[in-house]
């Protein structure tokens, strides 16, 4: 095919994921006495009523993120199911040793829910960006990581997290796709390529609409993942087996290559190529502006994805 790259389309939809999270947790606190919410000031205003109804189970510790995770661990040691929430860099990066030791190493679990994603509010600058959060958690065993692409995907992912025992990270963004998709544990095929297709594109969470637009003139299978850990290795292997070529493009809304080792493991039984798109690793992008500015700077707008998808699938 020799068609020109597709024109950039508005492929990002506003998604009130944080409000949805607050609604789901407030309702769950009313019915499940095991749940407790731990905050460090951020979003406390969304839980004023819940805190009035459950003063012992909605705990705002002030701006104390190490303590927030330590308290989550202590609550879990008494048999409760804690939820901790703040912006992604202050939830995962700042108290990372607490995440490593006060949860996993104690053998207990919590639900960590972040907002702000890689650069939802880039006018705050680098301090409020956390493109490395999933890669950091990926250095720890047995974490479940959900990256919803639509506000309506938040409730089922969150409810399953509240009803299990392990450690779960739910990465919320205010930017996503126009339509919600099934959040089943495995990869969801959104568009099937032919038997002679040039490969498989995996879109994580908010990247789906952009990936669909960027690959619309390519013969590739597009699969969607709202859950990236555990990664659906078997599902990817099956999709690749049905494709014409064993070439896989993964487009993630956080640090590029975060899931590259998963793809390598999924396709260890066959010769294959893979390409990872995400937030760039080679330089710190020092810019304010809008999220769309940062999409362009990282090549994560539709045009940037399309150009690199074409170069990868049609070399």
């Amino acid at each position: 095919m020799t068609a020109a790259p597709p024109a950039p389309a508005p492929a990002v939809a506003a998604q009130p994921m944080r409000d949805t999270f607050a609604d789901v947790v407030a309702a769950a606190l009313d019915t499940d006495p095991r749940l407790a919410l731990v905050l460090a000031d951020i979003s406390a205003g969304l839980f004023t009523d819940a805190a009035r109804r459950h003063p012992d189970r909605v705990v705002n510790l002030g701006i104390r993120e190490q303590l927030m995770i330590g308290v989550a661990g202590g609550l879990a040691l008494t048999g409760m199911r804690p939820i901790a929430h703040t912006f992604a860099p202050f939830l995962v990066e700042r108290p990372f040793e607490q995440v490593k030791l006060d949860l996993g190493h104690q053998g207990v679990g919590a639900v960590l829910v972040s907002s702000g994603a890689s650069y939802d509010s880039p006018y705050y600058g680098r301090t409020h960006m956390a493109p490395g959060d999933v890669a950091l958690l990926d250095s720890l065993p047995e974490w479940t990581v959900h990256v919803p692409g639509h506000a309506d995907e938040v409730a089922p992912l969150l409810e399953s997290a509240l009803h299990q025992e392990g450690n779960v990270y739910l990465r919320l963004s205010e930017r996503g796709n126009a339509a919600a998709r099934p959040t089943g544990p495995g990869l969801q095929t959104v568009r099937s390529g032919s038997a002679r297709s040039t490969g498989v594109a995996v879109a994580v969470g908010p990247m789906l609409d952009r990936v669909l637009a960027a690959t619309e003139d390519l013969d590739v299978t597009v699969a969607y993942a709202a859950t990236v850990r555990p990664f659906d290795r078997e599902g990817l292997n099956r999709l690749v087996a049905r494709a014409g070529q064993a070439d896989v493009l993964v487009v993630e809304p956080y640090l590029e290559g975060t899931s590259a080792h998963e793809v390598a493991a999924a396709l260890a039984d066959r010769r294959h190529r893979q390409r990872s798109l995400g937030v760039r690793r080679d330089t710190e992008v020092r810019g304010y502006g809008t999220p769309a500015d940062h999409d362009r700077a990282h090549g994560l707008d539709t045009a940037g994805i399309a150009e690199r998808a074409r170069a990868f699938f049609l070399p």
């Binding site: 006495p33 407790a36 731990v38 012992d56 189970r57 705990v59 510790l61 002030g62 104390r64 190490q66 303590l67 995770i69 330590g70 308290v71 989550a72 661990g73 202590g74 609550l75 879990a76 040691l77 008494t78 048999g79 409760m80 804690p82 040793e97 607490q98 030791l101 006060d102 190493h105 104690q106 053998g107």
Partner: protein, 231 residues
């Protein structure tokens, strides 16, 4: 399962330590916690091997996880650990390492080693008991004066005081090991945050017992146990 039939007294602690270290006259600085640990497990804490999973048990959290020999010795004297296990300490497949792992030893409430984690976990444990309507159990966290250097402790000290967690007790064994010291005293760091504070000589078992058990209400308790400076 073999148990520890004979070595169950305070006087047996050096022998129990010696099973681990091979030094039956074991008197290292790592034992600065021996008396506090003995008083807690012998007379203060309501917990035993039989109640180690009871939700209403008292909790002891060893935050200062290094130098665990006296801790393991006390747990052995109280029947949590058998003697054969002590002899194999720090082997690859031993449950006993140079820092404790709660998933490997019954009765050990937290895994520790990296300093500054126990008090935060203790605050969470105290909040969890409060939220479940369990006012009786105490949560006792053992720390060191050097450990107080870690900033995470100060998040926990401030929040616990403000929330009035009277089921929480911090025991700080002070062997003057903090590089830059604590001018004005360790007590001041707690009392400024509205903790009840007490001091006791760290080798004086009756003074420690008194400091740990005299009633206090409405706020957390900090007991500073002074021992001879390290080294």
């Amino acid at each position: 399962m073999p148990t520890a039939p004979a070595l169950t007294r305070y006087a047996d602690l050096p022998a129990l330590s010696g099973l681990m270290t091979g030094d039956e006259k074991h008197r290292s600085a790592a034992e600065s916690t021996r008396e506090v640990l003995w008083v807690l497990y012998d007379r203060v804490l309501d917990v035993s091997p039989e109640t180690a999973d009871d939700p209403d048990r008292d909790r002891f959290l060893l935050s200062k996880g290094h130098g665990p020999v006296p801790y393991y010795a006390v747990l052995a004297a109280k029947g949590f650990i058998d003697l054969a296990t002590l002899r194999r300490w720090a082997a690859f497949d031993s449950p006993l390492g140079h820092h404790p792992d709660r998933t490997l030893i019954p009765g050990v409430e937290i895994s520790s080693g990296s300093l500054g984690h126990g008090l935060g976990l203790g605050v969470g444990t105290a909040l969890g008991l409060r939220a479940q309507g369990r006012p009786r159990p105490r949560v006792v966290v053992l720390m060191g004066d050097g450990e107080l250097d870690e900033g995470s402790n100060h998040e926990a000290i401030a929040a616990a005081g403000r929330m009035g967690l009277d089921n929480l007790t911090a025991v700080v064994v002070d062997n003057s090991s903090a590089t830059h010291g604590w001018p004005g005293g360790i007590d001041a760091r707690f009392s400024a945050e509205d903790w009840q504070t007490r001091s006791a000589p760290g080798r004086d078992r009756s003074a420690l017992y008194d400091a740990l058990t005299r009633p206090h209400r409405g706020r957390p308790l900090a007991v500073v146990a002074r021992v001879r400076p390290k080294g």
